[in-house]
């Protein structure tokens, strides 16, 4: 311990010795006066101007350019770039007039699927060999903790008796979204769940499962009766549209929640990084952009788990609510009385 403590100040000094000239110099490599008086704003302005003119012809406003870069990073496109090594042009496919080209997010979906299949083929093979008295360990144990959490605390707690039928969907959707979210935080990765089309598709699955659960639990008659909200026929002209819209608000909420959370986090990280480029200052980068974006990155790591959990949790909750037998009003009454 003592040795390490003794070494650290020296190492820090070295780091500062490298960093300080860089910080003080700023962009003033071409401008000698900037080196002499780094604190004077006029010099920095001239330095910035020098760089801007150096960039030459594309002298578009910096902020707009940053926005473009961020959007380019967030949005889907048909080029998978690996800067600075180059980029891969993805194939364009058109079937019967539909554009089903392979895009960056489709590639990410496939990467996620491949990782999931590899991990769970290993885990599944271990389970096939395992006897009930053996305890899992390592990767198998980690996966089991998540699977068991989804099984008992999400599916069983919200759906009730028939949870096993929906378990396949809930488990898959949880791990799929979780891995999509996490891969967005990896270099060269992209967040497929930050694309509204992906989240919309996943939410549509939940929607169909919810409606199927409702139909199964109440029958067609009960399902239609539920659309009237149990009110007097005179009110049906109002109630039916409201309940009909209500059917779709849940999946739309799921869609937008996941999409917005994933997109917003990335925009915040990129914006924080771009502040230093816009202000053209290493000081801003060291003091603000890097620490803050690291903080947001860690937050994103948490949000990746949280949003995957919330999507799964709400799916289970919607299915549970839809299949509850006459329990809707009783449950609310019970909650109110508590």
């Amino acid at each position: 311990m003592k040795r390490i403590n003794a070494l650290q100040p020296k190492a820090l000094l070295k780091v500062f010795a490298v960093l300080v000239p860089l910080l003080l110099n700023g962009y003033g490599v071409a401008d000698v006066s900037a080196e002499k008086l780094p604190g004077v704003p006029r010099n920095e302005v001239t330095a910035a101007q020098a760089v801007e003119t150096a960039h030459g012809a594309q002298a578009a406003p910096e902020e707009e350019k940053a926005g473009d870069v961020i959007m380019h990073h967030i949005l889907n496109n048909r080029v998978y770039a690996f800067p600075p090594f180059g980029s891969v042009e993805l194939p364009e496919i058109k079937v019967a007039g539909f554009d089903i080209s392979i895009t960056k997010h489709v590639v990410m979906l496939w990467v996620v699927s491949a990782i999931l299949l590899v991990i769970f083929s290993i885990v599944g093979a271990k389970y096939k060999k395992m006897t009930p008295s053996q305890a899992p360990k390592g990767l198998v144990n980690a996966m089991e903790a998540l699977v068991e959490f989804i099984r008992t605390d999400v599916a069983k707690a919200n759906i009730g008796k028939e949870y096993e039928k929906y378990l396949t969907y809930l488990l898959t959707v949880f791990f799929f979204i979780l891995l999509c979210n996490l891969l967005g935080l990896v270099p060269y990765g992209a967040t497929a769940t930050g694309n509204i089309n992906v989240t919309l598709t996943l939410a549509t699955f939940t929607f169909f499962l919810t409606q199927m659960a409702a139909l199964k639990a109440h029958g067609i008659k009960g399902y239609l009766a539920h659309l009237t909200g149990g009110t007097h026929p005179a009110l049906w002209i109002i109630m039916i549209p409201i309940e009909f819209i209500g059917l779709f608000t849940k999946p739309v909420a799921l869609t937008i929640r996941l999409f917005a959370n994933m997109t917003a986090g990335h925009i915040v990280i990129l914006s924080l990084i771009f502040i230093s480029f816009i202000l053209k200052s290493y000081i801003v980068a060291v003091v603000m952009s890097v620490p803050f974006s690291i903080f947001i990155y860690l937050l994103e790591l948490f949000v990746a788990f949280l949003q995957a959990f919330i999507f799964t949790m709400l799916s289970a909750l919607f299915i549970g609510l839809a299949s509850a037998h006459e329990g809707h009003d009783e449950h609310e009454a019970g909650v109110a009385s508590h």
Binding site: E63, M71, F98, S101, L117, V123, A125, T168
Partner: protein, 175 residues
């Protein structure tokens, strides 16, 4: 501010992409089906087996506990019964011994009384016999004395003296 404005105005964030929707659906459904086969099935079965195993071992433990408690209770009952039995036997033994002792004592006392009585009788008889013997002896002595008197001179004084001495002699002998 301007950056966020640009992002919002770009509008492409919300633009529909049928191709991506198609690929998402296909990919997700395929992944779900494959994972169901290779992972969820075995994992869920294993988890349920383990749950059942744990439940059954808990049940078994409870059963064993109940059984052992029942055995303990039975043992206690047997022990208390045995205690009572031994108490009873002890008490009976004591009672019997007491009775036996009393009997023996009584018998011994009566025997002793009988013996004492017979001894008394015997003593009485012996005494009577001794008295008879004495009476005969006295009579013999008297006859002998008379013979002696008669053999010596029939002097009145002498006779008186002799009789007196004889009487004296008798009385001392008697005592």
């Amino acid at each position: 501010m301007l950056t966020s404005g640009v992002i919002l105005l770009a509008g492409s964030l919300l633009s529909p992409e049928p191709g991506l929707i198609f690929w998402t659906a296909i990919t997700f459904i395929l992944v779900m089906l494959i994972l169901k086969k290779i992972a969820w099935g075995p994992i869920i079965t294993a988890l349920q087996d383990r749950e059942k195993g744990i439940q059954s071992s808990i049940d078994r433990a409870h059963q064993a506990k109940d059984e052992s408690e029942a055995i303990l209770r039975k043992n206690r009952e047997l022990l208390s019964k045995a205690d009572a039995e031994s108490d009873r036997i002890l008490r009976e033994g004591k009672d019997y011994a007491e009775k036996l002792r009393a009997d023996i004592t009584e018998k011994a006392q009566s025997e002793a009384k009988k013996m004492i009585a017979s001894a008394k009788d015997e003593i009485e008889q012996e005494k009577r016999r001794a008295l008879d013997v004495l009476r005969n002896e006295v009579a013999d002595l008297a006859v002998k004395g008379a013979e002696k008197i008669i053999k010596t001179a029939l002097d009145a004084d002498m006779q008186k003296k002799i009789v007196n001495s004889m009487i004296q002699d008798f009385s001392t002998k008697r005592n």
